[in-house]
Subunit: 288 residues, 2 copies
């Protein structure tokens, strides 16, 4: 199967690297906005060919994978529509789904039936092609969010793609995906950015950072994620993130009242509910 | 030097294990509220002797180390006062300092001049003697917060203790310690507990946890810390934590407004301030 990957960063590059080790892809063509990145993809032997435009990459492909930040998906979809073959399947790696589905529905016309929205839950603080690795998706979950129009054979093919990378598939609708991810991914990132920014803004930031312990380093690791990428994600899923955020603010105000009142019982009950959750996560997740 | 350690958990046990490898301690006597833990400390060859009470442990010691949760320090200090020799030095490992200093001043009388408040910034999610390890303090920072009465020779001795464990010493006053730690340790923990509890409280918690990525796992790791220990810390430093928390709530409300208004620029500016901070932390810290 001829695969075209649009966006050769951490995610697109890792997908290419993983496909290199299997038989799913007969050839991989790569496009990236940055010509140097395209060249680097060739140097690293992740690509068979590069394309000078998204449309050129999509032309002749059996499967087109959109691996760019979610904010750029709408433009890419418009760029490739006329270049798609009658049976070409299109999929994406975006961290939000409802907005990508909307953009695809608007751009693709009848080809929307062969668009399979997908989100591999992998990545982390690294970004860019240099962080790419063939086992990034090994054991990870890929959420697929088909619409009622989505063709079963297209879904099956995208599932094959991800199984060939060692990932497991979960299917749900786009709105549910966005709500769940707002909770367990988008809000935690926003929170880590906010906590670290708050400290960075203070006059004694250096003194604080110099005695930071392991807990804070976890926050800075999360907050080291790409600001541009996360601005895109936050904008694309802002309703769901806002709702989760307001819930958390209310809980934090409750914590502030408990601190003010010296109410240790309320705090301990809260801390215990959180502490138990670690055990529920248990062995169901791999990775660091 | 005869050392007595009161509280043989992660911190006290690791201190004993580290002292075992050096020449600072000629003998180590351990006390723990739980007799089974005392026995276990003997089995693991971390202790030369156990004591049946804090006073018995302190009797004849050159250096008494309080390694119990901060909430229990006041009681311990009262228990040991009459057992202290005329030259016995007392120190602690508490995560908050102003409240421990107050308790020591009240309990120790003239011996308060030989009390050296200290806080080794080490630990993490593990707790209990079974997590203890000899290199827990290697390369870590120990903050010492002497009062005007504190004798220089007592400070020097406690600095020797920590240098023998591979730690580096930073000196500041107790109020400043508590403010800095509220920012970079206590608030991050409270925040992680709150975020994880918020998700745990929701009806679709299981679905959310099942697709959680690496960022959220960092939060659950922090929130897996001992609820009792952190309730103690939060109560002991509640003014400073409350102040930091209110600052963060205001920032989160600003984020909520930016999300509502679709104001990507405000978000990206915030995310970038945070992202730069990771680099400032740079190589100045060891450990995971």
């Amino acid at each position: 199967m001829k695969v075209a990957i649009l966006g050769i960063g951490l995610m697109g590059g890792s997908l290419a690297a993983s496909l290199r080790g299997g038989s799913f892809a007969s050839s991989i063509t790569g496009y990236d906005l940055d010509p140097k990145v395209r060249e680097r993809g060739m140097q690293l032997d992740l690509l068979d060919a590069t394309a000078a435009s998204p449309a050129q990459a999509a032309h002749g492909a059996d499967l087109v994978v959109l691996a760019s930040p979610v904010g750029s998906m709408a433009g890419l979809l418009t760029d490739i529509t006329d270049a798609l073959g009658a049976a070409t399947i299109v999929t994406d790696l975006g961290s939000t789904k409802a907005n990508v589905v909307d953009a695809a529905r608007r751009a693709l016309g009848p080809a929307f039936a062969r668009f399979v929205p997908a989100h591999p839950i992998a990545g982390g603080e690294r970004s860019g092609l240099e962080g790419a690795e063939p086992d990034l998706f090994e054991g990870r979950t890929v959420v697929i969010t088909p619409e009622s129009e989505t063709r079963a054979d297209a879904i099956e093919r995208v599932e094959q793609l991800w199984r060939s990378c060692g990932a497991k598939i979960v299917t749900m609708d786009a709105a549910r995906h966005d709500r769940l991810l707002a909770s367990v991914s988008h809000l935690p990132h926003v929170l880590a950015f906010a906590l670290v920014a708050q400290i960075a803004d203070q006059p004694d930031a250096q003194a604080k950072l110099s005695i930071a312990g392991a807990g804070f380093r976890d926050f800075t690791r999360i907050a080291a994620s790409s600001p541009a990428l996360w601005t895109d994600i936050a904008m694309a899923n802002r309703d769901a993130i806002g709702q989760e955020l307001r819930g958390l603010i209310a809980l934090l105000q409750q914590v502030d009242r408990a601190l003010g009142a010296g109410d240790a019982d309320t705090l301990q009950a809260l801390f215990e509910r959180a502490s138990h959750t670690r055990r529920q996560l248990g062995g169901s997740h791999s990775g660091p």
